[in-house]
């Protein structure tokens, strides 16, 4: 059961780095994160890696394994051949801090740009009534563990650093969809999604859905419906006119 694997791990910092080869023991049932921990304990005590729960619940140990954005704790070593070299590199869309750890603060800044849940005025805690079928849609999106693999893989971010200012990425557009589908939220964020958060940058290639470890259908269930709702508001001539008139009243 035990064998020696060839691992290639990116070591370095914000000034540069390189892939370093290691030979390391692998036992039955182990995942990539176990191997990284064994490297820390035996060969590279200062190897930087983020992790917490080791059970796919916290979304900390995101990295790219043989080029694919994955959680290290959910990637089993037996999905690779014993003679296959397994390469681990940090998330490419975010600046490297050291080794496998990247600066993901971009995501926390974007989170602040989505206006929070806004319940109806006068609805007291304890008086909320919602049906299961109505909450289920948003609940799917609240399964998100904020591993940021979707943000990392989305080509609008990954290949276009310049978009980061205008594009919040799938995770936070999904947050807008979540609030938009919340049965009791009262705030309309559709124009904001289009104008401030860059919904138009998404061209529904579904890369985000593909890498989501929670198997959330980000594109089909969040982004496309959000685009449809935005289109209803922005491109329906009567609603467009209505929105202009209301705005004028507000002046």
């Amino acid at each position: 059961m035990t064998y020696t694997a060839s691992m290639r791990v990116w070591r370095g910092d914000d000034e540069g780095g390189e892939l370093v080869d290691y030979e390391v023991e692998v036992n039955e049932g182990e995942v990539v994160l176990d191997i990284v921990h064994r490297l820390q304990a035996t060969q590279a005590g200062d190897l930087a890696v983020r992790w917490n729960c080791k059970a796919g619940k916290c979304g900390s140990c995101s990295a790219e394994i043989n080029g694919k954005p994955r959680l290290m704790c959910l990637t089993r070593m037996n999905t690779f051949g014993e003679d296959e070299v397994v390469t681990i590199t940090p998330l490419r869309a975010f600046p490297v801090i050291r080794d496998l750890v990247t600066d993901v603060s971009f995501n926390y800044e974007k989170a602040r740009e989505v206006p929070s849940f806004t319940p109806p005025v006068g609805l007291e805690p304890g008086d909320y009534r919602m049906t299961q079928v109505d909450v289920s849609r948003s609940q799917e999106f609240r399964k998100c563990i904020e591993c940021f693999l979707c943000q990392n893989t989305c080509h609008a971010i990954r290949d276009h650093e310049e978009n980061k200012k205008e594009f919040a990425g799938p995770r936070f557009l999904m947050r807008v969809a979540e609030l938009d589908m919340h049965p009791l939220d009262t705030l309309d964020r559709k124009e904001l999604a289009q104008d401030e958060l860059g919904l138009g940058y998404c061209n529904i290639t579904k890369c985000c859905t593909e890498v989501c470890p929670e198997h959330i259908k980000i594109t089909d269930n969040a982004l496309i419906p959000l685009k449809e709702r935005v289109a209803d508001v922005k491109y329906d001539p009567i609603r467009w006119l209505g929105s202009k008139i209301r705005k004028r009243d507000g002046l």
């Binding site: 200062d46 992790w51 198997h215």
Partner: protein, 640 residues
């Protein structure tokens, strides 16, 4: 030495799990400048691991529920060692704390009439746990995280700065607390820490510090806890001169994964049993029926038929013994395995596949289905899981004043959540942790806010001054592991320490083993003092662990020390040489303190439950727990 960042806050909260975030919301809502410090990224706290739910007697599923029933269940679960006032506040305030989450955007699973659904759990008389599938902790942490973001958005509108009144210091660890004054006037003045990302130091000037650092699970080899759980807050409080209570009580969750080895210890939620999962041994026997202790005989089914009927008709049947409190189930599994009736990989079988259809399992237990599929190649809709006990939670923690969370002996120091002790007595019921975080997180945040305001009015709003020499000494101490040569690396020492605790201070304890453990732990002092670190200060996990190790060792010494003194078995403390519960021992808490750098343990009287609370029980039940003398002094009017 590089520049040390200085920050000034009214309240510094160490820990960003449920208790820390709830405390921060409360302090900030009182207008105070609040810092939240977390070793991990914002939103990754151990609270996300909580699966089953939040216990609160809202009565949405069974209207017979109420705070008195919840109070009784909590005291029974803790074997009457709980601090009565904490259990009372917890039972009374949990519903408000859950409803408040909903107003902040949480989306719980619903009942048919649109209320928050509540599920059954071990030790709870009625369906009581508000839940979101089996990822309730994630919902709780995300809701609190998003509430904090909304407060930051408010501040941005008012001041043009998101962080004007509340800032999260992510990937930042606290190594020391600062104090000012002498004798009776000695009080908290701030905290010292480092950024994990850069290795640079920072000093906080603050009159009030809230410890919300969670638990100590990393003292043990098999644990459901993450790397963060090194008892930092417990050790900080102890080193500050405060005290810890109930440290001998460690909860081994009965159902952790046992195979493959790399996932050994990862939690399997109690909801599996709450939703109908049964435990069987290698002979196919539902062995829990053999392990119902006398104190619980009245409340649990005696036959499989009755237990099975309870799921659909709880009014006329008693619950199955799979739903006994966690300490009972963990000990039972341990005994079955020792008797040679275990599963192939040293656990027992937990099966829900024969009880529920596949689609229901996937809807009710999605993360469990996912976890076993991905990590163990087991499809829980088709086959049983293999499970065994795993170190999950410490009942012991900082000794606090129940209403305010103020830590014993040290003005300005507060504690809440798993880091605080007393609430759960000798054993915590499932679901009572998330509610504990919210109830006492809020109270500690409020306690710290009122204290900081009082200090400000007394000193004219000036914050404590931290002399450079004190700050530089803290920095020098943190850098020591780099300057040493030839010591061991931190990972090796931690692994050996975990082995000692697992072998000698685990689920079943004896005097000889505890004495061995204490001697062995003493030997670790020198090893920890000589730990050596390779590499630099930028995000260096070896260094980070080297700084956590003294904390881990201190809490391990507390657990072993208190476990040796308590000569009885109760809740999360089982002594093979003193197998029964002893009413004489119920009258005492064990308190740990640090005397000249050594852990001392002494007995302290348990606070006396007032008449209105003790009257909630019948004498017949109290006789199982109280001494004859205590029974003779029970108030008039109690049901005899």
């Amino acid at each position: 030495m590089s520049e040390i960042e200085r920050h000034s806050y009214d309240v510094v909260i160490i820990g960003a799990g449920g208790a820390g975030l709830r405390a921060a919301i409360e302090a900030r809502s009182h207008g105070l400048r609040t810092a939240i410090i977390t070793k991990s990224l914002f939103g990754k706290a151990h609270t996300v691991m909580a699966e089953g739910g939040i216990a609160a007697s809202m009565g949405n599923v069974n209207s017979n529920d109420g705070w008195q029933v919840h109070y009784r269940d909590t005291m029974r679960g803790g074997k009457f060692l709980n601090h009565y006032r904490m259990a009372e506040l917890h039972a009374k305030e949990s519903p408000d704390r859950v409803w408040e989450l909903e107003a902040w955007g949480a989306l719980f699973d619903r009942t048919a009439d649109g209320k928050i659904s509540q599920r059954n759990f071990g030790g709870h008389e009625y369906p009581r746990l508000a839940h979101v599938g089996d990822r309730t902790g994630l919902e709780l942490i995300r809701t609190l995280q998003q509430k904090i973001v909304s407060l930051q958005q408010d501040d941005f509108k008012e001041f043009g700065d998101y962080e004007a009144r509340i800032r999260v210091f992510a990937e930042c660890a606290i190594t020391d607390l600062f104090f000012e004054g002498e004798g009776d006037g000695r009080r908290v003045a701030g905290a010292f820490g480092y950024w994990r990302e850069t290795g640079n130091f920072l000093a906080f000037e603050a009159p009030a510090v809230v410890i919300a650092t969670g638990g100590i699970g990393k003292s043990f080899k098999v644990t459901s806890n993450s790397w963060e759980y090194t008892g930092d807050g417990h050790a900080l409080a102890l080193r500050s001169g405060s005290t810890l209570v109930n440290m001998e009580f460690v909860q081994f969750h009965p159902t952790g994964m046992v195979w493959p080895p790399s996932v050994k210890g990862i939690l399997v939620t109690e909801s599996v049993r709450g939703d109908g999962g049964v435990l069987t041994n290698s002979e196919g026997r539902r062995f829990m029926f053999d392990y119902i202790p006398d104190v619980f005989k009245a409340q649990y089914a005696e036959t499989e038929e009755e237990g099975d009927r309870w799921y659909t008709d709880p009014e006329n049947n008693r619950r199955p013994p799979e739903l006994l409190p966690r300490d009972e189930v963990a000990r039972a599994i341990n005994s079955e395995v020792k008797a040679g009736r275990g599963s192939p990989h040293g656990g027992v079988f937990l099966d829900v596949s024969k009880r529920l259809p596949a689609d229901v399992i996937k809807a009710k237990l999605p993360s469990m289905w996912h976890q076993f599929k991905e990590l163990a190649d087991v499809d829980i809709t088709l086959e049983p899981m293999e499970v065994g006990p795993t170190c999950h939670y410490v009942m012991g923690g900082v000794e606090v004043e129940p209403d305010t969370g103020a830590a014993a002996r040290v003005p300005g120091l507060f504690a809440a959540g798993e880091a605080a002790g007393g609430m759960h007595g000798s054993n915590r019921l499932g679901g009572n942790s998330l509610s504990d975080l919210l109830v006492f997180g809020r109270r500690a945040g409020l306690g710290a806010a009122l204290y900081a305001q009082a200090v400000a009015s007394e000193t004219g709003a000036g914050r404590p001054a931290l002399p450079d020499a004190v700050v530089e000494a803290a920095a020098a101490k943190a850098l020591e592991p780099f300057s040493r040569q030839g010591g061991e690396n931190a990972f090796t020492i931690q692994r050996d320490l975990q082995q000692v605790m697992n072998d000698l201070v685990g689920i079943i304890r004896t005097e000889t083993e505890l004495v061995d453990a204490i001697a062995s732990l003493a030997g670790f002092r020198e090893r920890v003092a000589q730990v050596t670190v390779e590499g630099g200060r930028v995000f260096n996990p070896g260094w980070h662990l080297a700084l956590d190790l003294p904390n881990l060792l201190t809490v391990s010494e507390c657990i072993a020390g208190a476990a040796l003194v308590r000569q009885e078995s109760r809740g999360g403390h089982t002594r093979e040489d003193f197998p029964g519960m002893n009413p004489e021992w119920r009258r005492f808490n064990l308190i740990c303190e640090l005397v000249d750098g050594n852990v001392g343990v002494y007995k302290q009287d348990l606070p006396t439950m007032p008449d209105d609370l003790i009257s909630l029980f019948e004498v017949a039940e109290l006789k199982k727990y109280l001494t004859e003398d205590e029974i003779s002094r029970l108030p008039e009017g109690i049901q005899r």
